[in-house]
């Protein structure tokens, strides 16, 4: 029944990540620490999930350095937004048929 759903997004943790980033206005990004704080994930788990989404070009990460501190920001790409939109439509179709 769930074959139509993008397997990369159809995992609770990654769905939460993508939904959180999609709620930002287009062109905005979120710091790694704020994202982690909002989702309540461990850094290790978040990194693993982000890497999978980044490999599929669903999101982009950017590292900036100010002084000795390094800051990582995460943003959904337009490809990621389209994928979430298609996933949401697939969900609608599935649930509409139930």
């Amino acid at each position: 029944m769930t074959d139509e759903l993008d397997p990369l997004i159809h995992v609770p943790t990654r769905l939460k990540i993508v939904a959180t980033l999609a709620a930002l206005p287009d062109g905005d990004s979120l710091s790694f620490t704020r994202l982690q704080d909002m989702l309540g994930l461990t850094p290790g788990n978040l990194i693993i999930q982000l890497r999978k989404l980044e490999e599929a070009d669903y999101l982009s990460t950017e590292k900036t350095r100010s002084g000795s501190a390094q800051k990582t920001t995460v943003a959904l790409t337009s490809h990621g937004r389209k994928a979430l939109s298609a996933y949401t439509q697939a969900l609608r179709d599935l649930l509409g048929g139930l």
Partner: protein
């Protein structure tokens, strides 16, 4: 894109993930993010609306029997000053907390800051120009400072948000400008009541619109 079914990850996240659960989680995560990252919080807008009505209403009660008009007395001015300071501190604190870690286009850009600054400079230019032409002090030092900033700052805010296609804050800007324009024709005493009630309605309307936007489902729009 080359996707591989990630059953291990799915299992690690609770096994079989039902579409109904996915829809609920998608809505929940989206709504939670909207609430947490909103720079203008509905509860703060509601408190501000009530405070504006109370403070400007007190000013109106204070001036409505004055003949000739002298402006609010020292009995109400401390409340106005406390409100302005408390409002500024609360707004900055809440906004800073909500947008911590957020960067990108939603932040004010340099040209937008310049437009807002110019709007405020224009207020003083208008006051200065009117003072030089011998217009009544009740108008120059009470009616104009109360209403013209609302018109100019409201229009500037509406313009900036129209350029971003962000229609809720754009509507707020237009609403504030309309309140200022109506207040301008209500006379020095009546302007306090018009601006108080007008801003109360605009702020409350904005709070309702934000709550509606935040609760809107992404799965069933």
């Amino acid at each position: 894109m080359n996707h591989t079914p990630d059953s291990a990850a799915a299992a690690g996240n609770g096994g079989k993930f039902d579409p109904r659960q996915a829809a609920a989680l998608l809505d929940q995560a989206t709504q939670q993010t909207r609430r947490k990252l909103a720079p203008a919080q509905p509860w703060l807008l509601t408190i501000r609306a009530v405070m504006v009505l109370a403070v400007l209403g007190a000013c109106w009660l204070n001036v409505r029997g004055q003949h000739p008009y002298r402006g609010p007395t020292s009995a109400v001015l401390p409340f106005v000053v406390v409100f302005v300071i408390a409002n500024f501190v609360a707004t900055v604190t809440v906004r800073k907390r909500a947008t911590a870690g957020v960067s990108g286009k939603s932040r004010l850009r340099p040209w937008e800051i310049i437009v807002l600054t110019l709007a405020w400079i224009a207020v003083f230019a208008v006051i200065g120009a009117l003072a030089g032409t011998g217009v009544s002090p009740a108008i120059v030092y009470s009616l104009i400072p109360l209403t013209v900033p609302l018109i100019l700052a409201g229009l500037a805010w509406a313009g900036i948000n129209a350029a971003r296609a962000d229609w809720r804050p754009c509507g707020v800007g237009v609403g504030v400008a309309v309140v200022g324009a109506v207040g301008l024709f209500a006379g020095p005493a009546g302007a306090w009541a018009v601006v108080g009630v007008g801003l109360f309605i605009v702020l409350l309307g904005s709070a309702v619109a934000i709550v509606w936007q935040q609760r809107r489902s992404v799965v069933w729009p």
